[in-house]
Symmetry: C2
C-alpha cells in the first residue's frame, strides 16, 4: 500500500499532540494489553485467537460446504462483508456455481427473510452444506436474535443436527455465551474491550471468512505489517499522516469525508469505514460525515457536486496498482464513435484515475491517494488496520472518545416503548 | 404516497417565489412542450413514446428471454436499476431461478467485464435468451461505448443475429442514432431537452424495464398522478413542500440530505436520487450533498453521528405502509435472550421506524417522512416524479440551473489528455 498526499501546512504541533498517544498504542501492542481501550491493536498478532478459530474451522468445515451464513449487524458483519465483497461477493450473481457463497442476514426485513427461507428450502438438502455464524458483541442485539430465531426455528425441522452447524460469536462470558453453552452450540469469544467496529481481526471476522475460503493468515499479516508502520515515528506512519490531514481540514469546516474507490467491489469496504467514522468520532456535536463513491459510476452522478458545489469535503482516492486486463476489440462495431479500439480497459481506467486526481488538484480540493498493490487479503488487511488506527488518532486529535456510541441507545429506548405498548 | 412534515416556520415567501415557476411547469405539461427545459415533465403522459416502446417490445420480447442487459451509466441506468432492485434485484442472488434477470454494465471494470463474458459463454446458449440495451444520451460516453464494443465484439462470434437482440437508446438524431441506423441496429430516441437524470420515464427506462416484465403503465400512472399534485396550488404539492423545507434548512447551513430508507431494496432508488441532487443543484459553489442510509443497517453504523454529531443534515425517512409478514417462532431457541417471540417482524420493523422518527423529533433534527402505500411500480413512479419536481423547485429557489453539469467535463479533459499521450 502506498499513501500519497500533500501536507496542507506545517503539522508539527499535531504530531506532537499525537506522539504520546502513539507511544501508548505501541505499548499496548508490545504488552498485548487487552485491558486497554485500544485492545483491538493486539488482534493481528494474537496466536491464541487464531488457534481457537483454526480449531473451530477444523470442526465445522466440510467438503460439501456451499453456504456460509452470517447473522449479525453493524460491527458484527460489515468487516466480513467488506472482505467477501472485495474478493467474490460483488460478482456473486454472475458466478452462480462458485462456492462457498456468503449470505448476510443483518437488518430485519420480512421480504428478505421469507426469500431466504424459501432459498434454504429449495437449495439446501444436506446439513454439511451450510455453516451459520450468529454474531452479537453484547449478545442482546435485536436484529441477530430475531434473524437467528426465524432461520434456526425453520431449519431445525429439516436438519436434526442443526446445532452442530452453528457457531455463536459473542463477548467472552456474555449472556449469549452462557446460553450457547447451555443449549449446546459452540461459542467463540470476543475480547471484552474490542468494540464491534474494531473487531474484524477477532473471531467475528476470522471464523466466517476462513469458512468461506478466504486467507485469514494473509489478512492478519497485512494488518500486522501496517500496525508496525502506524506505531512508528516515521513518514510511513500513514495513520498519523491521514488523521492529521483530516483533522486540519475539519478545522477549516470540511466535515465530509469522501472515500472514492475506483473498484466497484470495494463499496462494502467503504461501508465498513462509514461505521468506523460515524460511531467513533460522531459525538459531542462534532464529527465527520463519511460517504462512499465509486469510480467511474459517480463520475456520472456526483463529481459535478464535488467540483462545482461547496468546498466541504476531504477526499480519499483508492485504487489498486494491479488491474486485470480486458481488451477493447481492435475492429470496432461503431467505428465513427469509438476512440478506444485495441486499448486495454486497465489503461482507460488508469487514465480516469489520474484524470480525477488531477482535477482534484486543479480544483484545489483536498485529497489524498491510497494505492493498493492488489485487491487481496493482505492489502485489505493492511488498509483496514490503517483505517482503524487513523480513526483512533483522529479521535485523539478531536478529543472525543473513539470507543463509545451513546446516542445509539436513543432509538432503542423509543422502539422498546412502542413494542411494549402493543 | 403520504408526505408528513412540520413546517420550520412561515414559508409564504418561498411559496410566492415558486408560484410563477410552478405555473410555468403547469404550462409545459398542458402544452406538452418538449422545447422547454422542463421537457421531462411531459413524459408520464406521452402516448407516442409509449407506443414506440410497445412496438419495440413486441419486436424484441421472446418466450425464452432470461437476461436483460443494460449498458449505460449515470442517468442512463440509475433509474432503471432503482426500479429493478426495488422489485427484484436486491434478492437476485437468492432467487437464481427467477427470470428475466437484469444485468447492468456501467463503469469499465476489467474484472467485472471478464466475469461477465465468462457468464455469457457459460449460461447463454440461444440468442432469444438475451436482450441488450445500449444507452447513451449524447451517444459519445466512453463507458457504454467500451462496454458495448467488448460485449458485442465477443458475442457476435457465437450469435450471428446479434444485431436483432440489441436496441440503441440515444438522443433523437445523435451520431449514435445515425450509426445504429447505418449498421442495422434498432434505435429508440430520447427527446433532446430531457436530460439523463430526468429520463427514467422515457425509452431509457421504459424499454429495458418492460423487457424485464416490470409494469411500465403502472409506473407512468403513478408518476402522472404525482405530477398533477405537484403542479397544483394545494397542500398536496409535495414537491413544493419538500423543496421549501430543504431550502430553508440549507440557508441554516444544513447542506447534507440523508435519504433514510427502511427497506434495503430501496438503496438503488437512493442512488438514483443522489445523481439528481448532485448534478442538478451542486454548482456555483453551493449545493446539497445527498447520502443514502438503510434502516436498520445504519442504526448500527451511522445514527450515532446523526444524533450525536454536528447538526448539518436534513433527513427523509422513507417506508412502505404495506409490509410482508414473517413470524418469529413462539418457542424461542434462546429463551433467556428473546424478547420478540411470536411477534411479526413487520411489527418490529414498524416500531423501529417510529422509534427513529421520535428520536429525530426529540433530538430536534429536521426530518420529514415519506410513506409509500407499497413498494410497487405505481408508488416508485410517484416517488420518482415527486423527487424530480422537488429538485426543479429547489434549484429555482437556490437560483441555480437544474439542467447543466459543467464541472463533469473537467476530468474528461484530463483523462483524454492522458490517453492521447500514451
Amino acid at each position: 500500500m502506498k499513501f500519497i498526499y500533500t501536507q496542507p501546512h506545517d503539522w508539527t504541533e499535531q504530531e506532537k499532540t499525537l506522539a504520546p498517544y502513539i507511544d501508548h498504542c505501541k505499548q499496548v501492542v508490545a504488552t498485548s494489553d487487552y485491558n486497554a481501550l485500544e485492545a483491538s491493536l493486539c488482534l493481528s498478532s494474537d496466536k491464541e485467537i487464531l488457534a481457537q478459530v483454526d480449531e473451530m474451522i477444523k470442526k465445522k468445515k466440510t467438503n460439501e460446504l456451499k453456504y456460509i451464513i452470517v447473522i449479525g449487524i453493524g460491527g458484527s458483519n460489515l468487516g466480513t462483508k467488506a472482505l467477501y465483497d472485495s474478493l467474490y461477493g460483488s460478482v456473486d450473481v454472475l458466478t452462480p456455481d462458485r462456492y462457498p457463497k456468503m449470505f448476510f442476514l443483518d437488518t430485519i426485513d420480512p421480504k428478505a427473510n421469507t426469500t431466504f427461507l424459501n432459498y434454504f428450502d429449495k437449495y439446501i438438502t444436506n446439513e454439511n452444506e451450510f455453516s451459520i455464524s450468529i454474531i452479537s458483541k453484547s449478545g442482546g442485539t435485536t436484529e441477530p436474535l430475531v434473524n437467528a430465531e426465524i432461520l434456526l426455528g425453520h431449519l431445525k425441522k429439516q436438519f436434526p443436527n442443526w446445532k452442530d452447524r452453528c457457531v455463536i460469536i459473542t463477548d467472552n462470558n456474555s449472556k449469549m455465551w452462557d446460553e450457547g453453552k447451555r443449549i449446546g452450540i459452540d461459542v467463540l469469544g470476543i475480547p471484552k474491550k474490542v468494540g464491534g467496529r474494531y473487531s474484524i481481526l477477532s473471531a467475528v471476522g476470522l471464523f466466517p471468512l476462513a469458512m468461506a475460503g478466504i486467507d485469514i493468515r494473509s489478512l492478519l499479516k497485512g494488518a500486522e505489517s501496517m500496525r508496525s508502520l502506524c506505531i512508528s515515528d516515521t513518514s510511513e506512519n500513514h495513520a498519523r499522516s491521514s488523521s492529521i490531514f483530516q483533522y486540519l481540514y475539519l478545522q477549516e469546516g470540511k466535515a465530509i469525508h469522501n472515500s472514492f474507490y475506483f473498484h466497484p467491489e470495494l463499496e462494502s469496504l467503504g461501508k465498513w469505514y462509514r461505521q468506523l467514522v460515524g460511531e467513533s468520532i460522531g459525538k459531542d456535536n462534532i464529527g465527520v460525515t463519511p460517504m462512499v463513491s465509486i469510480g467511474s459510476v459517480d463520475h456520472h452522478s456526483m463529481v459535478q457536486l464535488y467540483w462545482g458545489g461547496p468546498s466541504d469535503k476531504t477526499t480519499e482516492l483508492v485504487y489498486s496498482k494491479k488491474q486485470s486486463s480486458c481488451l477493447v476489440p481492435s475492429d470496432p462495431l461503431f467505428p465513427t464513435l469509438s476512440t478506444t479500439e485495441g486499448k486495454d480497459t486497465a489503461e482507460i481506467v488508469s487514465a480516469i484515475q489520474k484524470g480525477t486526481a488531477l482535477t482534484y488538484e486543479n480544483q484545489k480540493q483536498p485529497y489524498f491517494e491510497v494505492v493498493l498493490d492488489d485487491i487481496n487479503e493482505y492489502e485489505i488487511g493492511a488498509y483496514m488496520q490503517y483505517k482503524m488506527m487513523e480513526i483512533l488518532y483522529l479521535a485523539h486529535l478531536m478529543k472525543v472518545n473513539a470507543f463509545d456510541q451513546p446516542q445509539v441507545e436513543l432509538y432503542k429506548i423509543e422502539t422498546r416503548k412502542i413494542l411494549v405498548k402493543k
